[in-house]
């Protein structure tokens, strides 16, 4: 019996012959912030899709608050308290930023009025208040990323999965986003984050999980992990002999 908040046991996903994720196990405790790193194609996003239900695992078990999630649809998982952002931001382009956040807020607030009030609060949190009435399709990349976070936060999740929310942002926007994620975590939100930018990983992570070719190859604190030879090898390739 594990006491972990989110527990992943031997999870795998095959696409015919391709083992996108294989036998991955790890735990995330309540209030923790954990990073998942790995080179392109390592299976990070596939792993996220398994956790949020966009894909069903072909093996293993995913538990969240001691419920087995394996066969649960994404919307049911969202109701249980799992929020996510997408690597390629999926703004609801024809809707305004406010309405995007409202779509999330409706999960726990039935009335238009409540959902709107709640959505405003989330836009404030990510710094999009001034852009609330702009259609999401017209927002900048950085604003879209923040809007994704706002929509996920509007679900009032217990854990949020952030898929490369820093990708494509300039250094000052990255710093802003790091600040936002840090504040969310301090407020008690459990965070699982996929990140490429090692500077970002160092900024938070007490704990880092490294994926390569679909398998977990290392887990530990950022400092140790980033100096491990097999991690460097996965990122940069083998040293020439």
């Amino acid at each position: 019996m594990s006491t972990a908040f989110l527990s992943v046991r031997g999870v795998g996903r095959h696409f015919q012959g391709l083992h996108a994720v294989e036998d991955v196990s790890f735990d995330v405790g309540r209030g923790e912030i954990v990073s998942i790193i790995g080179p392109n194609g390592a299976g990070k996003t596939t792993l996220f899709n398994l956790l949020t239900g966009q894909l069903a695992p072909t093996s293993g078990e995913i538990r969240f608050r001691d419920l087995v999630l394996n066969r649960l649809r994404p919307d049911k998982r969202a109701k249980l308290g799992l929020g996510r952002t997408f690597q390629i931001a999926k703004p609801l382009a024809a809707l305004t930023a406010l309405e995007n956040a409202m779509v999330g807020a409706f999960l726990h607030h039935r009335s238009l009025h409540d959902a709107e009030a709640h959505a405003w609060a989330k836009l404030d949190q990510v710094g999009l208040r001034a852009r609330a009435q702009v259609r999401a399709g017209e927002l900048t990349l950085s604003e879209r990323r923040r809007l994704e976070v706002a929509r996920a936060l509007a679900l009032e999740p217990q854990i949020i999965l952030l898929d490369e929310v820093m990708a494509g942002l300039n250094p000052s926007e990255v710093a802003e986003m790091i600040g936002l994620v840090g504040r969310l975590n301090e407020a008690g939100l459990t965070i699982l984050i996929i990140e490429h930018n090692l500077k970002v990983v160092r900024a938070f992570s007490r704990r880092v999980i490294v994926l390569d070719h679909g398998a977990k190859i290392a887990e530990g604190d950022a400092q140790t992990i980033l100096s491990m030879p097999q991690v460097i090898e996965a990122y940069l390739g083998k040293r020439l002999k």
Binding site: T45, T46, N49, T52, G53, Q54, L55, A56, R73, P74, D75, A78, K79, G83, R84, F86, Q87, I88, K90, P91, L92, A93, A94, L95, T96, L98, E99, M102, V103, G104, F106, L107, R110, L112, A115, E116, Q133, R135, G137, R151, A152, A154, L155
Partner: protein, 344 residues
């Protein structure tokens, strides 16, 4: 099963403007719009030719508003709504002819049936996206036509059904088209009120969200299938109600009339596309432009060049698709924004 990971995006069929108005302003706009739509009725009260056109304008405005709930808000471009229209028409006519049930009550079973069978027949097709969904629903139209021809005991088969002329309020049969115009206006107002209510409800937001991106909608806790089915039920029930009113107006129906693509199935979509799909006012604007124009064209060209009015309507639709992506409502919306921008 789930094939491609989340990176696959679905191109939405339509874009619409969307800002939340306070309820009071929405109701004010609705009342204003209805008042405007009522004007021609008062002006043309004596003219039978124009009243007849107005009857169709109101009726099809209502039907297109109903279609727009699932097709515009939800992005599920149905070309099979004629089935609901026909079920409503046949049920009401049959109940009236066999058991002498007043259409004022007789429309209810048809609407209820469509609220049930609509979701049921759309259920398997909702897996399809965009044009594939449209093509599949088009097949419903053809199946409906074949069944209407075949099920003679219910539909009268190819000979159709005739409702004898017995004018009375209880029979919903009136001597003067003015009464029908009032009736159809009421239907349009009902459809609009329901469309406004849906648009401002959680369901409305969920429909817009799933139209824009189903993956994002699911991740936001939306039960996509349930939202589509609920919207279909509402849309189908209103379409059946429109069918019921239609049959009491024309008093003679047969399968080719009810399942005609150019006059029924496509028409709902055409009006909404030209007026502004996914907007509240769009389908009504479309109806007020197209239905009178069509009747006029048919009257002008009908003798010499049969079918020419369809060619002209087709060209209009093409032009709207090329140059007016957000329809008349979109053009008006942009003009309004520009005007307000200049005022500031």
């Amino acid at each position: 099963m789930s094939s491609v990971p989340s990176t696959a995006t679905v191109a939405p069929l339509a874009r619409s403007s969307a800002t939340i108005l306070p309820l009071r302003r929405t109701l004010l706009l609705l009342a204003l719009g209805l008042g405007l739509a009522l004007l021609p009725l008062l002006l043309l009260a004596g003219n039978r030719f124009w009243l007849n056109i107005l009857v169709y304008t109101y009726l099809f405005a209502g039907l297109s508003v109903a279609w727009n709930i699932i097709a515009g808000y939800g992005g599920q471009f149905s070309l099979g709504h004629a089935v609901f229209f026909a079920v409503g028409a046949y049920m009401t006519a049959r109940l009236f002819l066999v058991w002498d049930i007043s259409p004022w009550l007789g429309f209810i079973p048809g609407a209820a049936l469509c609220a049930l069978i609509g979701p049921l027949i759309f259920w398997p097709t909702f897996r399809l996206k965009g044009s594939f969904f449209a093509i599949a629903t088009l097949a419903f139209n053809e199946v409906g036509l074949v069944m209407a021809n075949y099920l003679e005991t219910l539909t009268g088969g190819p000979r159709g059904l005739q409702i004898p002329y017995q004018a009375s309020l209880g029979n919903m049969i009136f001597a003067h088209p003015f009464a029908y115009a009032v009736l159809m206006f009421g239907f349009m107002a009902l459809c609009l009120a329901i469309a406004v209510w849906v648009r401002r409800s959680r369901l409305g937001y969920y429909l817009l969200a799933l139209r824009e991106n189903e993956d994002a909608a699911r991740a936001a806790g939306i039960d996509v299938a349930s939202a589509k089915l609920r919207a279909t039920a509402i849309s189908a029930a209103l379409s059946a109600t429109g069918g019921a009113l239609f049959v009491m107006y024309v008093r003679t129906i047969d399968p080719p009339t009810l399942f005609s693509l150019s006059d029924v199935g496509f028409k709902f979509a055409l009006l909404a596309l030209i007026g502004g799909i996914g907007t509240i006012s769009g389908p009504v604007l479309g109806a007020f432009l197209i239905i009178p124009a069509e009747s006029w064209l048919r009257a002008e060209l009908g003798g010499g060049l049969p079918g020419m009015h369809l060619a002209i309507l087709g060209a209009l639709m093409l032009l709207a698709a090329l140059f007016m992506r957000r329809g008349l409502a979109g053009v008006l919306d942009s003009a309004w924004r520009r005007w307000r921008g200049r005022k500031r």
